[in-house]
């Protein structure tokens, strides 16, 4: 499911890419936790979820998308690893200064969106919209992949 706009480019790779990345991350997961299953299913579920997000970020954006970079950076921080991407030109200063000023504002819809989309805290609104669009596409792709996996693996 790849589409592109004239001015906005929100191409998303095919399902296979997502699937491969996800399965690879899952295999990494299972090798990390050996055969004896970990404590609770909740723990495993969380691990799988994290793996899903990371694989999605890798498959879809790599380092060309703001949200994927933010996601991967966040995940790396959790594992106490540092991941560094090529530094883009960031117009952060204006945004941050305006943020501080408007801290008392009631949580607007855009602010809620910023909380949802990874890395949305220091983005312009127009950029935020772009990232949201791409993020939505990738999320839906990932959901499809996981759905198929679950369907394929679930015992009847």
């Amino acid at each position: 499911m790849a589409s592109s706009d004239k001015t906005i480019n929100t191409d998303v790779p095919e399902k296979d890419v997502f699937a491969i990345h996800f399965l690879q991350s899952l295999s990494n997961l299972t090798t990390q936790n050996p055969f004896n299953s970990p404590d609770t299913t909740n723990y495993r579920a969380r691990k799988i979820k994290k793996a899903a997000y990371v694989s999605m970020a890798k498959a879809a954006g790599g380092s060309s998308r703001l949200w994927s970079r933010a996601l991967l950076g966040r995940a790396a921080k959790e594992n106490n690893k540092i991941v560094r991407f090529a530094r883009r030109k960031r117009k952060v200063t204006w945004k941050i200064s305006s943020k501080r000023r408007s801290d008392q504002r009631a949580p607007e819809a855009t602010d809620r969106l910023r909380n949802l989309v990874p890395g949305g805290g220091t983005m312009e609104t127009s950029k935020l919209m772009e990232e949201t669009a791409h993020y939505i596409k990738c999320l839906s792709m990932q959901v499809k992949v996981m759905q198929c996996l679950v369907d394929g693996l679930s015992p009847k």
Binding site: I20, Q24, S37, R46, E124, L139, V143, V150
Partner: protein
């Protein structure tokens, strides 16, 4: 998208008989730029004609001297020659008496030429003559500073008086060919620092003092000469970043023309650019989110988008929990099976029947597929059996079919299930 209607609508509002002619004509770069030239034609020793005569001669020279100060680079030499002329002009203008009527007319005229000044400066810079630019601008600023009286032209005059920019710091884009830059430059003129203006305001007669006073008070806040558009009237920070974000020319400014009946304030222009970008993206998102075609309005749309994103994230979480429940199947030595080359080179799809499981394994080893040990294979068989009991017959037909073409990579699958089964066959 932006019609070519002029930002000089204020001109039409102004009751200027002289200006009507100007306004009626197409705003070409050439003749506007050549505002300076008719003045140049005055010999220095010429006694100052009356203001009306001067305006007539202005007009006259304007129409005739259309190509004098040509912007385009193909006439670079001629424009080079004209660069020095404005200095002359400055001296000329210094001789003009501060007639009140003339002041008013010149004021209106200077607003009118505001865009041209901006472009002239820009062209000067493009020619690489910053020194003369500064000089020229300085001298014209004298006159512009003088003539900022009338309240009619309050708004545009404010624009006009801020024409002067510090030497060398003019970053007005050099899109001389686009006449669409008119409104933009006009707006840009406004935010150009008017330090000269501030210096000259003391020379004014007292009638303008309060009007100027408030202006200067505002302008003194504007210390920056950059394109940051630190405006006294609006928090332009976001608009600045919005404007700087759009990158069409090498210095990164989008050319905007103010629409008819809309403010030509550079900040409002930038705000409009930003708002339109946001609405464009909202439309794009509307197509993406299912069931949002009837929704209109930014707020409701945003809520829908937020709900959708949240629902997708919840779905992922739910599916991950489900996956963890079925994960025991995946636990079996996944890495050994999910070897990288196995993924890249699609191994032959496992046949439908379990009995045929073992023979293809030898095929696998021949093809360089990783050789799983027997224990895992048995577990795999268990998994496979479980799978087969689901009744993926249709898929297995395809699987068998694919078995014949062993080297084809499954590039495109129509049904999602088949795709997954093939990948799963690696696992199981």
């Amino acid at each position: 998208l932006f019609d070519k209607n002029l930002s000089f609508t204020k001109l039409e509002d102004m009751d200027m008989s002289d200006k009507d002619e100007f306004a009626a004509k197409k705003m070409d770069l050439d003749w506007r730029i050549s505002v300076s030239n008719p003045i140049v034609s005055y010999p220095p020793e010429n006694p100052m004609p009356g203001p009306s005569q001067m305006m007539d001669s202005f007009r006259q020279n304007l129409w005739h001297d259309g190509g004098g100060f040509n912007v385009h680079t193909d006439r670079g030499t001629s424009s080079r020659g004209n660069v020095d002329r404005p200095v002359e002009m400055g001296w000329n203008m210094a001789q003009f008496p501060a007639d009140s009527g003339f002041i008013e007319r010149a004021a209106k005229f200077s607003f009118f030429g505001c865009g041209s000044f901006g472009e002239m400066m820009m062209n000067q810079q493009s020619l690489g003559g910053p020194q003369s630019t500064g000089l020229f601008v300085q001298d014209t600023q004298n006159q512009i500073g003088v003539a900022t009286g009338s309240n009619q032209v309050d708004g545009p005059l404010k624009d006009a008086t801020k024409v002067v920019k510090e030497n060398g710091s003019s970053n007005v884009s050099e899109d001389s060919q686009s006449s669409g830059g008119n409104g933009h430059d006009d707006a840009k003129c406004m935010e150009i620092s008017s330090k000269r203006f501030n210096a000259k305001k003391r020379k004014r007669t007292g009638k303008d003092s309060e009007h100027r006073g408030q202006q200067s008070g505002e302008e003194e806040e504007e210390d920056k000469n950059e394109k940051d558009e630190q405006s006294p009237n609006s928090n332009a920070n976001k608009t600045n970043s919005g404007k700087q974000a759009s990158d069409t020319l090498k210095d990164g400014y989008i050319h905007m023309r103010a629409r008819r009946g809309q403010a030509t304030n550079s900040h409002s222009l930038a705000e409009r650019v930003r708002r339109e970008k946001i609405s464009e993206r909202m439309k794009f998102l509307q197509d993406l989110v299912p069931g949002c075609d009837k929704v209109t309005g930014k707020a409701v749309m945003l809520d829908e988008i937020i709900n959708y994103v949240q629902s997708l994230q919840c779905q992922i979480e739910f599916l991950s929990m489900k996956l963890s429940a079925v994960n025991p199947v995946l636990d079996y030595n996944l890495e050994s099976l999910l070897a990288k080359d196995a993924l890249q080179v699609p191994a032959p799809i496992l046949p439908q029947d379990m009995s045929m499981l073992y023979p293809p394994l030898s095929h696998h080893s021949q093809k360089g597929f990783m050789q799983p040990n027997i224990s895992s294979m048995s577990i795999l068989n268990g998994g496979l059996i479980r799978q087969e009991r689901h009744g993926y017959e249709s898929d297995q037909h395809n699987v068998v079919h694919m078995n014949h073409e062993t080297d084809t990579a499954p590039n495109h699958e129509d049904a999602t299930g088949e795709n997954k089964i093939q990948i799963l066959s690696y696992l199981c």
